[in-house]
Amino acid sequence: MKAAVIVFPGSNCDRDMAVALRAAGADVEMVWHKDDGLPRGIDLVAVPGGFSFGDYLRCGAIAAQSPVCRAVIDHVHKGGYALGVCNGFQVLTETGLLPGALMRNAGIRFVCKTVPLEVATTDSDFTRGYAKGASLRIPVAHHDGNYFVDQPTLERLRAEDRIAFTYGDNPNGSTGDIAGVLSENRRVLGMMPHPERAVDAGHGGTDGRGLFDGLVGALVSA
């Protein structure tokens, strides 16, 4: 299973993402944002956390227009997988690959702590490694994590079982307590919490491993 981790100026979770994917058994290549294509044979593109382009204009807005993002959009349109975490989630909403937008936290402050998450669906290769309703502890670290969708979109996401994770104690004002959301074909996941920061017991928890193990396992056997 081959994964590409995109690196923008200002990305700061790219190496953590690569470590988590490699620990789950993936071959990982780092891809610089100015590259206009992805390496051959990529199964998964991971868009990491950070502050791409200094969060200028809006978080993820400039990154979403970079050459490599056009390649990511093509990859997804051909049925490829993509995972966006934190700033990566913001980038994926800005490209239109995921619905909604990430706004300033309702409490204004940057939130940096480990939060309880509930696995809202196991019907995706990202969440198949967990039990439905399982409670996880995963860190969040963001200023603009307040997920907004309008009411009709929220109802649609619920009807289509596309809410991957919800917050146990909503830290940012997100609509419907949504922490992670799936695309229509269930092959794109965006989430604000950082599963890649929860894969090593030495860092305080390993609840993120289920996502990487489940995903890499599914793509290896595919």
């Binding site: 204009l57 227009q65 409490g107 204004i108 907004f148």
Partner: protein, 79 residues
């Protein structure tokens, strides 16, 4: 031509920064501020000299980049 683009959160979308400003104004003793909305202004210097064409170009810029129309609305003033 010059274009001045005003980007605001749509009506009905909670503006946490505007709310924080409203609270801070209240703390300074400015009573009676019933609502605050914060947005941004983007000024563009355009080579285009035809107003209709400039408006069309800036509209496309707003739709593609300057505003996120999921949550934001925009207003264009040309001069």
């Amino acid at each position: 031509m010059k274009a001045r683009v005003q980007v605001m959160l749509k009506t009905g979308v909670l503006d946490p920064q505007g709310e924080a400003i409203r609270h801070a104004l209240g703390a300074l003793g400015f009573d009676g501020v019933e609502g605050v909305r914060q947005g941004k202004v983007i000024e563009l210097d355009l080579a285009e000299t035809d107003a209709a064409s400039a408006e069309a170009q800036v509209t496309e810029m707003c739709e593609k980049l300057l505003a996120n129309t999921v949550i934001e609305s925009y207003k264009i003033d040309l001069s």
